[in-house]
Every structure is written in C-alpha cells, then in structure tokens.
Amino acid sequence: MKVPVSWLREYVDFGLPLEDLARKLVVTSCEVDRIVHRGVPDRDGNLERFVVGRVEDAAKHPNADRLQLCMVDVGEGEPRRIVCGAWNFGAGATVAVALPGALLPGAEQPLGEAKLRGELSRGMILSEREVDLGVDHSGIMVLADGLEPGTPLADVLPLTDDVLDIETGFNRPDLASIYGIAREVAAVTGGELAAPPGRDPAGRTEERVDVRVEDFEGCPRYVGRLFRGATIGESPLWLKARLLAAGMRPISNVVDVTNYVMLALGSPLHAFDVARLDEGRIVVRRATKGEKMRTLDGQERELAPADLVIADAKHPVAIAGIMGGEKSEVRPETTDLLLEAANFDPLTVLRTSRRLRLRTESSTRWEKGVDPFAAEQAAVYATQLFVELAGARWAGHVDVHEGLPERPRVTLRPELADRLSGMHIPVEEQTERLRSIGFQAGDGLEVTVPTWRARDVTRSVDLVEEVVRFRIEDVPTTLPSRPAKPAQLTREQRLRRQIEDVLVGAGFHEAYTWTLVPPGEGRISLEEPLSAELAALRPNLEYWLVESARRNRNAGGQRIALFELARVFLPADGELPDERWHVAGIMDGGYFRAKGAVETLHRALHVEPDFTVLDVRGLDEGWGYFEVDLDALFGRVPDVVLYEDVITYPDVKQDLAFVVDEGVSAGELIEEARRAAGPELRELKPFDVYRGEQAGPGKKSIAFSASFQSPERTLTDEDAARLRGLIAEALAERFGAFLRA
C-alpha cells in the first residue's frame, strides 16, 4: 500500500518527522518498506524555481513549425521568452513554468537556458507528466485563470510529496486504506484523527434503484446509488497526482473517483453505465454453468457456478469484487451511472480469483475481508466527488442487506497480557490503549470491537496483542526458568552425522540437490509443478547427483566425489508418501571405487555390507555410484561393540591360490571356505586374479591371503594345514577348484 503523506495528513495530524513515524509504525503496526520522495525534488530551494506564469504573447517559432515562441510573465516585471512544443494554449493562458536552474523529477541536471532553433528559451512551460502530476504529455498544463504570475507553483499544485510504502498484514485489512493508516497513526502518535471523508449533498433522491441480491452469503450488503447527467472527462490535477502517488493510473473522473475512494476508505467501488444495463437492473447472483463474459481487460472469461457475479436482467456485467465487464464500462459518452458500494464474502472472491488467475487491487482487498460498514461511507464520499467533479446529479439510493453484523464483544483479561508478555501492564493502561484504536471499553471488562477489526479480534488473547503491540519494545529479556534437563541428538541423528563425517573424511564433497525431479514411474507428481524438470518427488538421489557430477566434469573438475544425505519419497498406501533417509555418492573410478566407499561406510558403523541388496553401480562415462537406505542400515548398527581378543593368541597367515572356471565368483569361494573352515578362518581376502596359460583356457586363478586365528589358543602349523585342507577339499568338491599353492 502506497501512502502519499499529503493525503495522510488530511486525515491525521502528526507532529513527528516521517522517519520517526515509520519507525513507530514498524514496531507497533505494520512494515514500512521505504519512504519514497515523489515529484519535484524538495531541496536547495528547488521549489522556488517553479512558478505560475501568464502567457502574454504566443506565436510560431520563426525557424520551426512545431514550436511556439512565447512571452511569459512570471512576476518578474519583464516577461521571459520561452520556447514551447505544445499548441494547446495561446496568449492569456495561465501556465506552470520551471525557471532555469530548476531540477525536474528524475532529472540529473538542472534546467538550463538553451537556444532552440536559434531562439533562447529562458524556462520551460510544463506538462503534467513532467512534474509527476499525470501521464498526459500531449500538451502543457493550462491552469485556472486568476492566479497571480510569480505565485509559487507548489502553493497551487501538489508538486512534491513523500510516499510511505507500507505492507499490511493479513489480519489488518483495515490498514489497506489511507484513512485506516491515519487511524493507526493517530493511535501511535497521539495525533488527532479527522472524521472520515465524505458528506452527502443536500436534497432528496426520488428514483428507485433496481438492485436485487439473490445470494446474501456471497454479498451481505449492496449499496447502490444512481446518478444522472454526469460528464465524463479528466480528473483534476490534485486527484490524478494522488492516484499516481498511490500507484494507480488515472483513467477518467468517474473511474478515478471509485479508485480514489477505495484507496481512501478501503472499500472497493464500481461504476456501471446504467444505459448499458439491461432493464437498468442489478442482480447479484451466482453464475450459471458455461456463462461467459468479457472483462475490462478484454479477456473472455468462462464462469463457474461458484462464481458470484453482478448481472443485469440478462447477463453478468461484473465478476463480483474482482473485475467489471466491458459491456457496462463507463465510456466518454456515459451520462447515467450506477455506483456499487457492496460487501463481498472473502472466500467467494478468493476462490474465483484463484480459479481465474485474476488478482486486482479490489480482489486483494475483498480476500482479506472488508468492513461491511465501510460500504456506506464509501458511497457517500464517492457521491460527493461525482457531484463535485463530474457534475452528476444524485438521483437514487438503495441499501440491500439482511441485517448487518453485530460488533463483537470480547472480555478483557488483564492478567493474560501479563502472563503472556512477561511484564506488568496495569489494567487502566490496557483499556486506554484499546480505546486509542477504536475499541469501546467501559469500566467493566467487556470490550466492544470496532467494525473494522471484527474479523481479527474475537478472543481475549487477541486483545492481548492489541495492548502488547504498543509495549513490544519494553518486553524484558529473560530465559525460560525450567530446571536443567539434558538433551542430545537421537540415535538416527548421530548416525547421520557419522556418515557425513566418514564420507567427508574419505574425500567426498557434500552436495545439496533438488528434491524434485522429472515425473516418471514410481514418482509422486506435483499438481502444479514449476517446470518439467521439477515436477515429481524423487524416489532416490540419483538424478541431480549425476547431473552435479557431470557439471563438475564439464567445468574441468578432476577427482570428483560427491555425496548427498537427504530424504526420498516412495508411493505408499497411507495418506503420506513413505519418506526415507538415503545417502548416495558418485565419483570417478567406476564400480570398485563406489564399492570401496560403501565398504568403508559400513565398516565405520560396524555393519557387514550386504551387496545382494545394496545399490552399487558403475555408470556410463566412468562414474561409480552407490545409494544406501539409511533406515534399513541403521536397523543393523549395533548399539554397543563388544571387545574381541585378537592379541593374546597371534594369527597364522597364509596365501592360497585356486584355479576355477571363469564362471565361479570370488564371493562364492569365500562363502564356501568360511562354511568349511568355521570361525577360525578369521579373514580370507582376494588379492590377485590371474588368467593365462598357467591357469588354462576358460579358467582363472584367484589368490587369497588367509588368516587363521583362535581366541582360545595359539594355532600351530598343523592347525593351519588342517584348516587349509578343509577349505581346499570343500572348494574342490563344490566348484572343482584346484589349489595351486
């Protein structure tokens, strides 16, 4: 919300500097993102160089067809010669003049005296766009007659303003208006708040306004006002300047008034061209299936039965609270108006706005909930301005509702503020703070909530916030007083850290990759993904990890080793996916490097790796890859590792080499050897595989280093020979293995 400070000052009188006001608001009320200066820079006497001028003489420039040569009285006695490119004025016009040395909005250099086609120009006649007062650049500003030449322009036009850029919270729709901010400013500064703007013109209205509300749930209130004889035209400069400062584009006097009043009071308005309403009637109803309308932005919209529409006797003419339709749009030739000052249900507007992907200044206000009591004041203010600015006659009024909501009453619990805040706030102060923001608090503890806060403040604890926010800087700094209690990581958290430590220690760099991957079999898809690559939950860590490794290699990286420890998501029967912790690694060096990493990881956790279930692979381009399900792994990690005596009785080491068929694996041999020799075979590790003449065709020789050991006695050479015999015999029988040495 952009709050032009000149506008704010119309409603509240505050004494302190703007920066201090912003600081106070930030602490007690809402974010103030920044303070922006708008319009003519107000420093070094710059404003004095903008004055009212009267054109005494205007004629074609002798050397240029498109330029005028003017003599302009700016109150200096002698008129100034000024060259001007506009033709929408002549001698006698009162105009706005910038004198040499003036710094225009957005300009880096001050205005100089310049020769234009051979004629010296000693100033500049201004268009509204040149001083941020409007968007029109087709001609210069012609001011009202009767202004004395030389009058400071700033006395006549809002040349300069500061704008507070405010972010209002979801719970404070009341702050989405200048008057709402003024109310808050009055409370935080103690400044005086003016009555809300707008007064009905005198006189009676006689015409009937044909408004029928068929859906009070979607539209609890509809104030309709009829105007005759309006003249559509441009808004006055002050109004255009304010709209621009508040971030809206001026369009025409009638549309500008609806926008202006929305900004002033927070209740969005809409104006229809009555002549274009079928039977001049307004019907508030839900759309019928398949109903269509063209909105103001030129889009053809298909409506759904949940959408609330404003219709005439036949067709929708606006999507309630979101956008008007083209058909009944106010045009230059429009004379009769129907003003809508309604109240719409937030959820109805929200759902339609979401469905249509259409968010507007008005829909964002309705979504947060607008005070139904604001509609009437908005109608009054708009009426005043239609009459003043568009010459309209107010002809009819209707206020359709089924009873307006009661103001909520909430019990003040003074002790609750103390209990939650950790400081004492006397009850008198609490009620005083509440009164300052429009709550009615008598002597008792019953508090009546103002209509503009009725949605947010419904409980005693909500009153606590309204009080404590004014004292938030005084909250002490303490720590919970509970008795000391030891805390530690859970077993799984400790083990996860250990895995990270082992892999980092082994030279792996830890990677973080997206949880989302392209969709596919076994992957849970998102309803509305950001992109095709980030469209489903990953069932494993492979996709982006491989991508990261490749990217490193493309960047010229060597000895690449990455790992990631994160969650994966598998489809499951319950309401949520099966969310599991995995660790995966990718590295140069292929299958055996990956296997080595997995072995190291298991050794660190004292678990025997089970390669029948582990995912260890060599990938294309020479990568090795592994992925381990940690939930499964952690189930096998012993809580306590018991001592094993490997010192008292030394081991006996021997090498054995077996010649076997090519199809027999080392793993099978080891498994069989262990079965045959029992626990006294402590270790059997392959260290060489030989293929060639001595092994024979279709055969290979695998050399093992064996270690025999007993925890009970020293093994003799005879023991070793016996164990070796058992192994040789078993392997010969099972695999036809031949012991070479």
């Binding site: 602490v27 009320s29 809402c30 979801f170 719970n171 929200l350 979401r354 992907r357 209990r419 939650l420 805040s421 950790g422 409980r459 909500d462 606590v464 404590v468 926010r469 938030i472 909250v475 700094t477 303490t478 720590l479 919970p480 007083s481 209690k485 805390a487 990581l489 859970t490 980092v504 220690g505 082994a506 030279g507 792996f508 760099h509 830890e510 990677a511 973080y512 990759t513 997206w514 949880t515 989302l516 849970i524 998102l526 509305e528 950001l530 980030l534 990261s548 990217r551 490193n552 960047a555 990286g557 000895r559 690449i560 080793a561 990455l562 969650r567 309401e575 949520l576 996916p577 969310e579």
Partner: protein, 326 residues
C-alpha cells in the same frame, strides 16, 4: 654505551653464523670476558642500568642457544627440499547449510532442546489447519504452495513439526526442528523453491514473550558471537498470538549501520510469537495451563550473507570449486 646497538649487533651476528665454530666466535665476542657487555656489567653502579644490561645479556644467551640447537640438527640430505608440498590426502567438505545446521542443533542441544525431525511432505491439516491458518490465507494458494493433492503439500515451513511433536509428546516441550521447506518461487539469485528453516518451540507453564526475546538473543549470540540486541516488531502469523518479527543488531557493524544491514543497524531474523491457544487446544494441550513460544527463521540467507555468496543458486549447483572453499 649504546646498549641497544650492542644487542642489535649481537643478534644479527648470531643469525648470520653458519656453523657451530662461527657461533662460538660470536659468543666469545659478545659474551666473553673481554666483551664490551661484560666489561660494562663490571662497571655498573646503579640498579637500573644493571637490570638493562642483564636483560640484554639474557636475550643474547637465549638467541645463542636457539641458533645452536638449529645448527645441531642432522645435516640434511642435499636432495631433500622440505618446501615442496606434502603428499595430498583427499579432503572432502561439508555443505555450508550442513555446517550451519549442526551449529544450530548444537546450540539448541546446549539449551536443553530436543532436535525433532518432521516430515517434508505433510498433510494440509498439519501444515495449515492445525496451525490456525484461515482458508483465505495466501500461503494456501496453489500459486505459492506445492500440492500433491487437496490434502497433501510439500511443507511450506517447519511449523507442522510443532503439531507432530506436540501430538506425540506430553508438555512441557522444548524442541527445535530443522530442514527443507518448499515454496513455489521461481529460481533466481535470491529465491529458490527449496530452502531451509529452523523452528523452535517451548511450551511450559509460564513461558513468555520475554523468554522468547531472551532465547532469541542467546541463539543470536551463540551463532553470530558478540553481544546482540533483539528487536521485536508486531506482525501476524496465524499460529501465534501475539506475533512478532524479530531482528538482531547487525553482526558486522553492531548496529552502527553498514552495507550488510542496509544501514539500518538491524538484520531481519524471522517470525515468532506466543503459540495461539487454538493451536494448543488443537493438539490437546489446555491453553489455560500451558503456554509458550514458537519461532522460525530461514537459514540459507544466514549462510549466504555470512559467507558473502552472491547467488543462492550456488547452494544447489554443487560446484566442487565452491564446495571445497568451506
């Protein structure tokens, strides 16, 4: 006599000595019986100059001993060049977020908080409803939140962990929860659709906003060092009442104003407040009996600002040239 010059010359000669013999010569010249120093010592009459000369003598003696030890080392192999780099032992690296996550976990463990692992995919009930989020709240908008279906979302904050934890535990509860959260933001230098949050929850009989402020300060001082002030500003979150946003004094300028804090002196930290009674009642805690605070903050930006990264995407690109810096 110029004692300082004497000392300077002696030390220079010691440093220059290339052998034990040369060093012995220097010793005789500087500390021998006929050396100027010894002669001067003999002439001393007052305490002050005696102390000064003795200090010089001690300094020279120490320098002699040190140089002697240096020269006594076994004479090196002439082919041995100790200035060549050591054999490289591969070194991996922890991701910056992991480093910060561990630091934060340890701070909370130190304060007696459990670390609670929530779920990254959670129910709309836990992510929104039980956290008192109105249906019209913009955080529910499918333009901002990833839905799997009408009832399931990628969690938009770590707060559903509060709900899971409180439903599983009896009060009092002191816990912190860290992890990935998801928002439907387009990827650019300052936004990623996945980022990390830390959440703290303390529910007991008498935990107040003052305790919140103190805990945030303890946290900020533990993570950023020094003495930090905490500023609270009124805000709105559906699951806390009252709600605040909190800032800490800038860790770089201590509040004086600098580029890191955009000359405000304050660094925005996150959101917090007293747990809303609706939330407590919803998990079966009696709000008249139990109360406390919750707070959360994004940690990517902390790591990002602290280490001077120019672009949040660097956290996800896994360029080893970047990873190995930290």
């Amino acid at each position: 006599m110029d004692v300082e010059a004497l000392e300077r010359e002696a030390l220079a000669a010691i440093a220059k000595a290339r052998s034990a013999d040369e060093l012995e010569e220097v010793r005789v010249r500087t500390l021998g019986r006929k050396s100027p120093l010894k002669l001067a010592l003999r002439e001393v009459r007052d305490r002050e100059s005696g102390m000064a000369l003795n200090a010089v003598r001690e300094g020279v003696e120490q320098a002699l001993a040190a140089r002697q030890a240096q020269l006594a080392q076994p004479s090196a192999d002439p082919t041995f060049d100790p200035t060549l780099p050591g054999e490289e032992i591969p070194r991996g690296s922890y991701h910056l977020i992991t480093q910060l996550r561990r630091q934060i976990e340890d701070v909370f463990i130190g304060m007696g908080y459990e670390i609670y692992d929530g779920l990254e995919v959670d129910t709309v009930e836990n992510n929104f409803d039980a956290l008192n989020t109105p249906e019209a709240h913009p955080s529910r908008d499918p333009r901002d939140t990833f839905y799997l279906d009408d009832d399931t979302v990628l969690r938009t904050h770590t707060s559903p962990s509060q709900i899971r934890a409180m439903r599983a535990m009896e009060p009092p509860v002191y816990l912190a929860s860290l992890g990935r959260v998801y928002r439907r933001d387009t990827i650019d230098a300052t936004h990623t659709p996945i980022f990390h949050q830390v959440e703290a929850l303390a529910v007991d009989r008498d935990v107040t906003l003052a305790d919140l402020r103190g805990t945030m300060r303890a946290f900020a001082e533990a993570i950023f060092g020094g003495t930090r002030e905490i500023r609270m500003r009124t805000s709105f979150f559906p699951f806390t009442e009252p709600s605040v946003e909190f800032d800490m004094t800038c860790y770089l300028c201590d509040g004086a104003g600098c580029a890191v804090c955009k000359h405000s002196g304050w660094i925005e930290m996150g959101g917090a407040g007293q747990v809303d009674p609706n939330v407590l009642a919803g998990v079966g805690y009696d709000p008249e009996e139990w109360q406390g605070f919750a707070w959360g903050l994004g940690i990517d930006r902390i790591a990002f600002a602290r280490h001077g990264l120019p672009d949040l995407r660097l956290f996800w690109e896994n360029d080893i040239r970047v990873l190995s810096q930290f």
